[in-house]
């Protein structure tokens, strides 16, 4: 987050192109620095806050007088900044026998301000700070049992404000109490600054306070999130459903499954608030749906997902499809995926979407997402909770198979560079590991140990190839292997397997081209290939056909290397 100095510097920038929002601040403390921070923070939000900052301690004068400067400014929102220090002064001057009603009377005063605003400038929104609960420690912990204690009355007042805010349309509480709890008293305020300048917040804290206010203003301007698009493997559960199977994924009690369970509970709460969930996963659809239908520890069920897309197309295109089906603005979408490649792809192809960089440790997903505060809103109605159902029905109706036009441009832009080479000592362990772990992209599911890999490498009757891939976002390492056995006048692809992480980036095409060239270089004119189905490798059942090999039926293919037209690829 920008520092106070940076926010202050924003004030000198050209804001003429930004949308204007008329705003007023009035408080019972010094508000000039707060007003500065707000204007600077607004710039960070792409807004020009046209500010009226009332003089010190003028709340009453500005709000009660219909012809005040504040009202003449015609603000779209007014911030009322009342500090706990002043609240405490008033409390101390209250007679002992009246202290039990202190909060109620303060609430009446605040309601008076709200009413005056409503009658003078109908439609103007009110943002009211609540009171950070800084106890005076007169009673110590026992303050909780003393109805007239300052702590008791402050908490009561905050609760009363919550009750009243839920009744008054157009009033929004900005929760400074929660902010102070998060940062602690020492960071929240700077005592000498209060005494020297009547500033109840430290300069550093103004950055966070202004950010909280701007979240509300942003929501008032209808900039709110409506849909969360979810990846599945290692995002909603631990492991890969296509490889690990229903019993192997971590959700519930297995492995780190509790973290995923709590994450799902939170997502479920979002749906109850009216946020739509959608799934966008690189999987076979029936496999992807299996945990939702059959796993007892899954919190989320298919009913909670408004739009479920699982296929092997790229995610940016799929998210655009989800957007079309749900018919929501792209800037109201949040995309959650554990894989940085997918996140970068989506970010670069859909700049409007919000893509949080999920932490590596799933235990931190939830804490991180909560800290981002993405779901600020300004309304809640009971029927928000049934929104998922409506969208689900809509999604059933719309089944479009839109073309993926600009994906090619994206691939070109990735600067993908591959390396193909025969097996070497250095890579034996990784090749063996990939052989053991690949289930989905595995044509004949022949497994090799490290010793067998070594034997193949040394056997002149085999052509062996491994492939690495890197792009501008990073190095994927060794991601695919082909084992080709030379026969009399042809070569047989004994196995080909690849990591699903790099699917659909024309790496398949690059590998096919490399195999054809290698066989050709060996002086052989014909390639034979075979696909042997398993429970998990349906995704590659027709890959040889798609790559231009001749389909002989029964999973068998062949390819004349001399007449083969090299496949188009964006990997070099």
């Amino acid at each position: 987050m920008a520092s106070f100095i940076e926010l202050k510097r924003n004030l000198k920038k050209d804001m003429s192109a930004l949308p204007e929002y008329r705003f007023a601040v009035t408080g019972d403390c010094a508000t000039q620095h707060l007003a500065t921070a707000l204007r600077g923070q607004a710039y960070e939000y792409g807004m020009n806050l046209v500010m009226f900052d009332a003089d010190y301690d003028e709340i009453r004068a500005q709000l009660m007088d219909p012809s005040s400067e504040l009202y003449e400014h015609k603000p779209e929102a007014i911030l009322i900044d009342m500090c706990t220090e002043k609240l405490y002064e008033a409390y101390c001057m209250t007679a002992a026998e009246e202290r039990a009603d202190f909060a109620d009377r303060k609430m009446e005063e605040i309601l008076g301000y709200w009413e005056h605003i409503k009658s003078n400038v109908a439609g103007t929104k009110i943002i009211q700070f609540n009171f950070p609960e800084s106890d005076d420690r007169i009673f110590g912990n026992f303050a909780n049992s003393v109805g007239s204690s300052f702590l008791f009355q402050t908490r009561k007042l905050n609760l009363l404000m919550m009750e009243k805010a839920s009744e008054y349309a157009g009033v929004f509480i900005c929760d400074l109490s929660v902010l102070r709890a998060r940062f602690g008293d020492a960071a929240f305020k700077d005592n000498k600054m209060y005494y020297a300048a009547r500033m109840p917040y430290s300069t550093d804290m103004l950055v966070h306070i202004s950010d909280e206010v701007m979240k509300i203003v942003n929501a008032l301007r209808a900039k709110i999130k409506k849909c969360v698009v979810l990846d599945l493997d290692n995002t909603l559960w631990g492991g890969v459903i296509g490889d690990d199977g229903l019993e192997g994924i971590e959700i519930g009690e297995l492995g780190i499954g509790r973290a995923f369970r709590d994450f799902q509970l939170w997502l479920k709460e979002l749906t109850k608030r009216g946020i739509i969930l959608a799934v966008c996963s690189k999987n076979d659809e029936d496999k992807a749906k299996e945990p939702f239908e059959k796993h007892p520890d899954m919190v989320l069920k298919l009913d909670d997902i408004a739009c479920f897309i699982a296929n092997w197309e790229d995610k940016a295109s799929n998210i655009k499809k989800i957007r079309e089906i749900l018919n929501l603005g792209m800037d109201s979408f949040v995309f959650l995926d554990d894989n940085p490649f997918e996140r970068n792809l989506v970010k670069s192809m859909i700049p409007e979407i919000t893509v949080p960089d999920l932490p590596e440790d799933p235990a931190e997903y939830l804490g991180y997402l909560k800290s981002l505060d993405l779901f600020e809103t300004i309304s809640f109605a009971a029927d928000d909770a049934v929104r998922t159902k409506q969208y689900r029905a809509e999604a059933e109706r719309v089944k479009s198979q839109a073309a993926f036009s600009d994906y090619k441009d994206y691939l070109k832009d990735l600067d993908m560079v591959a390396y193909a080479g025969p097996f070497d000592t250095f890579h034996y362990p990784r090749i063996a590991e990939l052989s053991q772990r690949s289930n989905q992209f595995n044509l004949r599911t022949v497994r090799y140990t490290a010793d067998e890999i070594k034997a193949l490498a040394e056997d002149p009757s085999y052509i062996t190839l491994y492939f690495t891939l890197k792009d501008k976002f990073g190095d994927h390492g060794l991601i695919s292997v082909a084992v080709i056995k030379k026969e009399d006048d042809s070569a047989f692809i004994e196995n080909w397997f690849m990591s699903c992480r790099v699917l659909k980036r024309t790496m398949e095409e690059y590998i096919i081209n490399s195999m054809v060239s290698a066989v050709k270089d060996a002086g052989i004119g014909m390639i034979k290939a075979e696909y042997i189905p398993t429970a998990k490798n349906a995704m590659v059942k027709d890959i040889y056909g798609r790559m231009g090999f001749e389909d002989l039926g029964d999973g068998k293919y062949r390819c004349d290397v001399n007449s083969f037209a090299m496949r188009e690829t964006y990997v070099s």
Partner: protein, 79 residues
């Protein structure tokens, strides 16, 4: 830290706070010498000096500092 090093670092903070790299503060510089140095800027300046040197001024320092030289004295005592 020598007094000169402290002065140099203080000067950098002035550049930051006033967003003006042409400022050259000396021991005798006062608020009158820098156009934007009003009471509001003073608060910001104090906070940033605190952040830069990792200590807290006392209230009497905040309201009592007469010139940059006095500011340097206080910093030198606290670091």
């Amino acid at each position: 830290m020598t007094r000169e090093e402290i002065l140099n670092k203080v000067n950098e903070v002035f550049h930051e706070v006033f967003d003006d790299d042409s400022i050259e503060v000396t021991e005798t510089t006062t608020a009158k010498d820098i156009e934007d140095w009003d009471s509001l800027m003073h608060i910001t300046l104090v906070s940033e000096i605190e952040n830069a040197f990792g200590f807290k001024f006392m209230m009497k320092d905040v309201v009592g500092m007469k010139n940059v030289g006095e500011m340097l004295d206080i910093i030198a005592q606290n670091i």
